[in-house]
Amino acid sequence: MQITIRNLNKVYSGDVYALRDVSLDISEGMFGLLGPNGAGKTTLMKILATLEQPTSGEVLVDGENISVRRREVRSTLGYLPQFFGAYPQMTGSEFLRYIGRLCGFSGKALKESVEENLIRVGLFEVRDRKVKTYSGGMLRRLGVAQALVGNPKLLIIDEPTTGLDPEERIRFRNLLSVLSRDKVIILSTHIVGDISSTCENIALLSHGRLVFRGHPESLVDQASGKVWQAACDEEDFGMISEQMNVISTIPVEGRLLLRLVGEPVDGFEMQTVPPNLEDAYMHFMENVVGEHVEEEAGVMED
């Protein structure tokens, strides 16, 4: 399956530009969408999930426009929205069975699919409990399960890991990488760590614009030599954080051990360290995109 996004724009009423001229190719495997709040990730995913109509531009799936072929897309789609709930008066397995039927399953296949996915997300034990008794994380897992029930070719999951405990998150990551062998999986997240270990390809959105697209490593490469480690006194922290981005602060024996991104500040002893994806994201958003946005703002003021 090949998804091609071309010059996609989405303007909500009130001149809210949620997507600006986004073009993107996505193929088999995991694809991560990164971006700060309001960047347009959810909007893009809704368009892919046929819930929204783009203002302009087009999305092609295997060469076919999805706004013409919504039925085909919907029948190969598993979608977990950012905000997900379920009928509280139903049990988990009832709910999944219902979703399964809506995906065209019935009889034995339905039963198997429901059970398999309940096991996958670790809800099998509580499958006969009413949804209203589920915890936040359990509900989120039910959401993942419902997206998987139809055995979709295209899986769109909007921030799947919010509310999951670390153990579940790791399990979930593994699950996705298993699934990604024969599917297109598009997931969005704020948690860079979710992506770093699993995604072949990522895209960075900011203010509706696609600002980066590529392998996570190439993002990391861009940041090499820009990530520093330094130790300072508390009095000096303010001064450093003025000039550099502080990624982490660890108090050690009365001093602070800092991880920093940016050009080093004179008069402090700093060592470069190899960047990880999170550092790279930070570096990228602050330096590359920041300028970009200012530029844009300047244009708009004119």
Binding site: K46, T50, R71, Y79, G85, P88, M90, I99, S106
Partner: protein, 1099 residues
Amino acid sequence: MPNTLRYILAVAANERMLMYRSAKFWVLASMGVFFIIFFLFAMTVGTIMGDGVPGEFLLEGTDAYLAFYFFGYVQVILIIFVAVDFRKLEEKWRLHEVMLSKPMTTANWVTGKYLGVVTSILYLNLFLMILAAIGRFIKFLVIGSGFNILPFIKYFAIATFPSILFMIALVFFLVSLVRVQVIAMLLAASYVAGLWFYIHHKFYGLLDYGSFFASIFHSDLIGFGDIQSLLWQRLFFVLLTVVLISLSILLYPRLSQSKVSKRMTWAVLVLFAVASGVVGYSIVEKSRSQQQIRLADRVEQKKWISEPLCRVEHYDFDIIHGERESLLQVKVRMVVHNANQAPLDSLLFSLNGKLSVERVNRHDGESIEFTQRNQLVFLNLAGNPLLPSETDTIRIQYAGDIDAVGFQLDRLPNLKGLIDKSDGPWIQPSISAWLSEDFAVLPAECGWYPVPGAAAGHPYYSPKPKNFSTATLRVVTNENLRVVSQGVAEATPLDDGKAETTIRVKSPVQGLSLNIGEYQLLSHQFKQTTLDFYYQKNHLLDYDVFAEVADTCLAAVERMLEIFEEICGVPYPYERLVLVEVPLHMQVFVDRHGVDNVLLQPGVIMVDEVSLASNRLASKVKKSTKRARRRGQDDSPIRVKRDVFIEMVLDYFLPDNIWRRDGSISSPMRNYVHFNLDIADPVLARALELQLHEEADRRIHDTFYPDRREISFSANDRMRQHDNRWMVRRIYGIEIDSLVSGLLQKPLSQLTPESDGVFYRAAIDFKAPPVLQMLSERITPENYANALRNLLDEYRYQRVGRTDYLKMIQTSIKDIPPDFFAEWFDQATLPGYRITKAEAEKIDTGQMKILYQVSTRVLNGEKGAGFVRLVCDTNKDKILRNVELGSYQEKEIQFAVPDEPQTVQVLPYFSRNSGNIRKQVSITNRISRRTAVDTSFVVTSIEDSLSIIVDDQDKGFFTPVSSEQRFLRPPSKGRSWWEWTSSLAYGKYYFGLHAKRGGRGEYPARWETAVPRDGDYELNFFVKIGSRWWQRNISQKFKIYVTSADGTFPIELRPQNTSDGWFPLGRFRLSKEDPAVVELSDEGNGYIIADAIRWEFVE
């Protein structure tokens, strides 16, 4: 395609599951269960306990049908609650995005949801139906009423099911359209409320989604009656349902998955919109054109009303009933006679519009040309006219069905200018005839046989002349059916399950009727008359409880027949008197403000199935036994059963219930006088009918229940005596006060049913019978009966007017003025009576006996002749005197009584008085020695012109109305003053007072008048605390403020009884410029009474 179905079913199943897990749904369910339990189980228990369960609940089909009918009202409210969730439910649980990204189409989704709501409500209804069937079965086992669940299944299919479909679709549509749930809900609810409270069956029923106001009622005899047109209306709603659902799909905010499915939805929408438009239009057109045809027909008939007619002297019928292709096939041979001066070269007959004439022949076989236009048939005798006083025989062959609605064109449903005959949810008064393969009710009016002359369009005051004829009927029908008509019937079986019934109608009748049905027959030969009772098997249960008292019972009926004869002065004129059970509709029809308020069936009394089915005789006997025992009365089975039996018979002969309050519909009395005359004056006809009925009622009660409470004197009297102004003092919904004021504006003979509607009927029933009763009283009932006999001797089978009638009255007693009717019927006067004196003196007549010499005075304070009955109650007896009073005349009446007199009371036959006119007799203790006198003479009344009395019924009296009271009815109720009628109250003709629970002085009562000249006035306040209850509960102090020329004076009085009720307030200077005002504060610790204030000029 199967996928589509699978999606729809999945969504529906899910929706259903959600419904079953919601509280709303269970509220709905328990309401339904409540209705079923109430209508079936409670009514069954009620019947077992012997409480007067309305007969409607005891018919086979109606209890469950009624349960569903009422449940329909509640159901819609809950449907609205449940269905408005349709769009917001998933959003509420944050599921909409998941659902909308599924491969089903929007149409699948919306249809699935719709189906889910529909099926869950449907299952609930099915469950309720099973419950109802069980209930019905229990009823069948316990009280023996038949077991038949078809009626409510039918009702469900016709009414409930389409309304569920439609209402849910409507709510879906509204939600889709306005998007705000609350607004959609309010819109739906206001539509329903508008329908219930205003729209009803207006606009051809095209807004009545539930057929709540359609004329359907289930009868055990004929089923749901005429529901043909209703089916179209139901179809209209079903089609509209599809339109609404398609619109909901199109308005659903979701990206559609393909153009094809969208187009398909549009196509369905357009298709069904057109279809429902066509159906709706055809309903409107059909009823419009039907009405137009009928109106045009009436106009046509009107042209022919003065056409010279032949008379049919004898009919000879050969009738085949119940053949599928044409239900009625008739060959009739008519002996026609020309009583006119001129030859008739064309004969005009009227015949029901659905019967078509096939052939007309002369007796010699020569065929006669004819034309049939709607209800008119013209026979062209051009070459061979019917010469004056010639008699000939004509044969007509015709066949077809009966137009049950469209006959009687002078009274059609809901047409302006005609006499109202509107349909309702419970009744189908428009159906006044019925013809089916196994049943027939064909009253003469329906035109089932040719009658000379146009049937409709005659002016109200000169009705169509009646054609009196004899007849022979030979009716072939299924052998299990019985045929009833005016004569004695004799059946002979034929081959193939048929039988021929021959009926000979020997005495001429105004009209012939035909009743056919699977009846059981009870028959008894009385002295002169055979009484036959035709009833349906399940409807006259356990009448054999009377077996052991059969003789007494039959003697009672015999006695009733004798009483009828005594009253009417003539014996029963036919060979037999028939009671035949008919569907409720046939009976209810007549009760609206009709002219000739009966379906003509000489010698045949129609008993409606409801009153039959509700007669649970065994349990009535049980209950009466208990009651008699409790009251210490005779509880022997003989006595109790006799009473129950008499009550049952009275219920058929002289019914007195809410539908047939005058009972004249069934009254056998009409057979004695009315059916043998052609009474032209409608006021006289109605007056006579009611007067005879009331007289019979009184005499029968006096005969069989001598110890019962005095039954009221007349409808008029009954109304006057009721204390509660709101509840009972109305006749056909018109209050006595409106009647009085209406009758002061327009005399009785100028009212017509067309222009005055129900007021006409109420006014006639209010005034006319008492006037005749008064006449009868003036000449004595025996003479009155003689006069009726003379009338019949003289005019039998002929037209009579009120002059003929009065002439017959005058032959017995000469002093009845010839302008008697002019005075009472043509003038708008109304007497009003007062007792001005009631005193008694003990006298010693010298024969070792003390008598009481009573002197009492009665005043007719109004213009117009008056006539009253004066009643003096002593401890042991009642003494009656009739008193005639001219305009403004006062008479003193003196008579002696052996026991101490208590009260005198005036019973007016007809007056403007309200409340009882009664006065306590005051007795002087001295014994004088003289002879008793029994006399009456006119006295001149001394009215003090310089005293002004303002009563609480007069214009100058005001009570404040507290704000919340406006919404309560009547307006005099509520937190402040309310009205009370009491014989102790002051009043000219209306003995009322205002009373109020003591308050804080916020709501004072106020009397106001203008005094004629300046000067000093003596003021009096009227208060009479007669009953012990008042003595205990009256406020100890009344606070009164009198406004005079010298200022306002507060007066505090302690109410107590004065000799005449007037309580002096003192002397005040008043000026004629300023209003004279007295205010009574409502401050007090008990009740405050406001009645009347008197200003008397002193100097």
